[in-house]
């Protein structure tokens, strides 16, 4: 991985982000409803509206508004949320760690699940494990992701009340984290009761996010494992006395990972988007849930901040995937 490649990829991300910023700014200004009018009680005078408008900087010409806004954004200042009356940057930073923990847990779960299932299906090719894996993947993809979260609530939260169905941690627990990364912090402080509660609350939302990803990954990984097992290097390993299982894990898997990583990257972007809905379904306090509340309240500054945050997350993910791809596949390094 050369430094110039990394730099080039980073520079590519900048115009994308700037483009998103312009689009977001313009689109949100053409909103028909007046958020200021909605903030004030019905008896407010025109003078009150004007004063509030000036307070949020909504009375200046649009180009001036953009310049002021862009300048502030670059300094990390996204303004003040209209509905929550708090700084947007603080609100987002307060919620972002919860989303990141959830997404990473979901990706980890999906990768482990997909690897085990795909390897099992190829190891027992043509027998019942393959059939089970294929049908499970098909069924998972046939039912829309949105319904999986609700099905989990229904089956594993209510009919069999094994897991909690809302929130991030048991509120009666005496755990006062200093950062937003509750799980990481609980682990570092060896607070096992908090770790258990956090993980327990995370199981269903993470699984709801992970399931569609796991199904897609299983399919791709299985296909490339089958291909890899027919390649000369796998046949060579078998003739040298490696067992089928060992050849799969040691030889074929490494080579089959390349197309899978690419897909994970693509899917990972969808996963970040998927958090919006999953967090809403499970009342999980992350930025996705915040985004829905912001849209319903038509909280312009908060929406702008959140969209930029999401865009940044998408760009960073794609960057990370490109880099991982380059590290795995030596042929890309020179390109």
């Amino acid at each position: 991985m050369s430094g110039s490649y990394l730099l080039k990829r980073l520079l590519w991300a900048l115009p994308t982000l700037a483009g998103v910023a312009v689009v977001v700014f313009v689109l949100v200004r053409v909103v028909p409803g007046d958020p200021i009018a909605m903030m004030l009680p019905p008896g407010a005078t025109a003078e009150d509206v004007g004063r509030l408008r000036a307070l949020y900087g909504l009375d200046a010409p649009i180009a001036q508004q953009f310049a002021a806004w862009a300048g502030q954004v670059l300094r990390g200042d996204f303004g003040v949320s209209i509905s929550l009356r708090d700084r947007v940057a603080a609100l987002i930073l307060g919620r972002l760690p919860a989303t990141l923990e959830l997404v990473l847990a979901a990706v980890a779960a999906a990768c482990v699940l997909a690897t085990v299932l795909a390897v099992a299906a190829v190891r027992f090719r043509g027998r019942w494990p393959e059939l089970v894996v294929d049908s499970a993947a098909g069924l998972t993809l046939a039912i829309p992701d949105f319904l999986w979260g609700l099905l989990f609530i229904l089956v594993l939260g209510v009919l069999l009340p094994w897991f909690p169905i809302s929130g991030r941690i048991d509120p009666t627990l005496d755990f006062d984290p200093a950062t937003g990364f509750h799980l990481v912090e609980a682990l570092l402080r060896l607070r096992w009761d908090a770790v258990a509660s956090l993980v327990w609350h995370m199981v269903l939302p993470a699984l709801a996010l992970a399931l569609p990803l796991a199904a897609a990954l299983t399919r791709v990984l299985k296909g490339s494992l089958v291909d890899a097992m027919n390649q000369d290097y796998a046949v060579l390993a078998r003739t040298k006395g490696y067992s089928r299982t060992r050849t799969l894990w040691r030889v074929a898997l490494r080579n089959a990972l390349i197309p899978t990583v690419t897909l994970t990257g693509v899917q990972f972007s969808f996963l970040v988007g998927g958090t919006v809905l999953v967090e809403h379904i499970f009342s999980y306090p992350g930025i996705g849930n915040l985004a829905i509340a912001a849209v319903i309240q038509r909280d312009l500054p908060l929406i702008q901040g959140l969209i930029l945050t999401f865009a940044l997350l998408f760009i960073l993910t794609n960057l990370a995937v490109d880099l991982a791809y380059g590290a795995l596949n030596p042929r890309v390094k020179q390109a």
């Binding site: 689109l27 909103v31 949105f146 319904l147 609530i153 229904l154 829905i292 319903i296």
Partner: protein, 277 residues
């Protein structure tokens, strides 16, 4: 036609679609109660199969409204969105796809590039932006689906047009001096039509889910009027007391989507047997 009737997926899908259409069209006659009529004394009645009152076959919700009636009326927004959004997305995508595939060159480069950029933009973000700009309502749901999903049609139609363009019948049409617009509309389009029918059916399934999602988070029609997503949202609040409030609308959505998907897949295998094999 005979082959269609013998394909089980087509039959299952057609039955589901027909049931949807009948429910939506005949809702006032089919529904046993007014879906908005409240009866607070009879809230949270269990469905008849759990020993509830048989006049409320599927029970009542937190305000005593009849669940069965609300589910039947919920088919209306679902079907309207599915049909209108899939149609408009299909028209837009097909027009651009035909143009890109037939004319090639710069038009193709521009349209294909646009599709790539469009598809790399996460649909959730587009949805948030659109909902923020347009506000809640059925029109927002329809516009969001069109804006996000026209690319599906565009890509497939472009590829298919490229294939058709190489066929002899296009060469003969050119030879007898037909105008490009006429060749595209009268010669190529009919050959792409079976594919479009498949895509349209699948898109209807997607649109039903998107409508459910947006009404679930409160961005579809104003509350009160029943939508399947809205019913799920209400059911989610009382899921510990009455799980069926959430389960019943979910079942409606799952059946509708599986039916439309089966119809789309079945149509594809009957209308395009070579490619499926």
């Amino acid at each position: 036609m005979k082959r269609l009737a013998r394909e089980p997926r087509v039959v299952f899908g057609a039955v589901v679609l027909l049931a949807l259409v009948v429910a939506a069209a005949a809702a006032p006659w089919l529904a046993p109660h007014d879906p908005l009529e409240q009866d607070l004394l009879n809230a949270f009645q269990a469905p008849a199969w759990k020993g509830g009152d048989p006049t409320h076959l599927l029970g009542t919700d937190s305000l005593g409204r009849d669940i069965l009636s609300r589910l039947v009326y919920g088919a209306r927004p679902a079907l309207v969105v599915a049909f209108v959004a899939a149609l408009c997305a299909g028209l837009l995508g097909t027009a651009l796809g035909l143009a890109a595939g037939y004319f090639g060159g710069r038009a193709d480069a521009a349209i294909s590039r646009l599709v790539d950029v469009w598809m790399s933009f996460p649909s959730v973000l587009l949805c948030i932006v659109l909902a923020a700009v347009l506000g809640a309502g059925l029109h927002t749901v329809i516009i969001a689906i069109i804006v996000i999903d026209w690319t599906r049609f565009c890509r497939v139609v472009r590829a298919e047009t490229l294939v058709q363009k190489g066929q002899d019948y296009v060469a003969s049409a050119l030879a007898i001096g037909l105008a490009p617009a006429r060749i595209v509309a009268a010669e190529i389009l009919p050959n792409v039509a079976p594919l479009l029918l498949t895509l349209f059916t699948l898109e209807m399934g997607i649109a039903i889910v998107v409508e459910a999602i947006l009404s679930f988070v409160g961005l579809s029609v104003a509350s009160g009027a029943p939508t399947w997503g809205g019913l799920i949202q209400e059911g989610r609040l009382y899921v510990n007391q009455a799980w069926w409030l959430m389960a019943l609308p979910m079942a409606c959505i799952i059946i509708a989507v599986l039916g439309l998907n089966a119809l789309g897949d079945g149509l594809r295998s009957v209308l395009d047997p070579v490619r499926t094999r």
